[in-house]
Symmetry: C2
Subunit: 143 residues, 2 copies
């Protein structure tokens, strides 16, 4: 999670919403990324999607069986579904996202009948630090 | 929608789940694609995500304001959220997807409080043809 937070700081430095993610298998980091939606002009370039796509390339497989995802904020609905499709084993995240989350808030995709695979979910890791980065970022953007 | 169906047929020929999508702005086709999850080893490479990413590149913008999406099947939860993030104006789709859809089924993301933009939605276009392609594909895969 420290590395995911470092990716979040990196995203903030690039003017991106500061969220970071790391994908791990058997103690090895397969991919790490921060949000890049602005840089790439790609609304799907959330940190989670970027690490899922990268890790699939590394493993040459569209399923990340046995892989664990660390992300600083509760994933949005899009990423929650992508986590399910990728068959990720465990999801660890920092702060809850009441306004945009899709795990414990809103669509709660893992609890839907249309969800065919749900990872184990653990939340609250370094959540204060994750929240602090986000709050500082949005405060700085306000006039 | 005929072009989206042609993309679905193309996907089936490549061994991919036969779903096709086309993104249009002011009568001009910005992008068209069929599913490519297997070819790319990318669980996020649904037809809708591919055309959103391509159209954003074409317009050099992460928002597809004023753009309309045609897709042969009800988008899944991941794609439904991506459609919202991309600020797509109108969504036209063919068949409903009771098992995996995220618009009228399951997460119904556009109706969630965490959804900040919902397109106008129109469904049932050439739905029989869209369903026939899918049924034939899955029937052929059974032993």
């Amino acid at each position: 999670m420290s590395m995911a937070l470092a990716e979040a700081h990196g995203a903030a430095a690039r003017g991106e919403v500061p969220i970071g993610a790391v994908l791990v298998k058997d103690g090895t980091i397969l991919a790490s990324a921060g949000n890049r939606t602005r840089e790439l002009n790609d609304p799907t370039a959330h940190a989670e999607i970027l690490v899922i796509r990268e890790a699939c390339k590394v493993l040459d497989n569209e399923r990340l069986t046995g892989c664990d995802l660390y992300v600083t904020l509760e994933p949005c609905t899009m990423c929650t579904a992508a986590i399910s499709f990728a068959r990720i084993r465990r999801l660890y995240y920092g702060a809850q996202d009441i306004k945009g989350g899709g795990v414990e808030n809103g669509a709660r995709f893992f609890a839907q009948p249309t969800c065919l695979h749900a990872p184990e979910v653990y939340s609250g890791f370094k959540e204060q630090e994750a929240e602090t980065i986000l709050k500082a970022f949005f405060r700085a953007k306000r006039p």
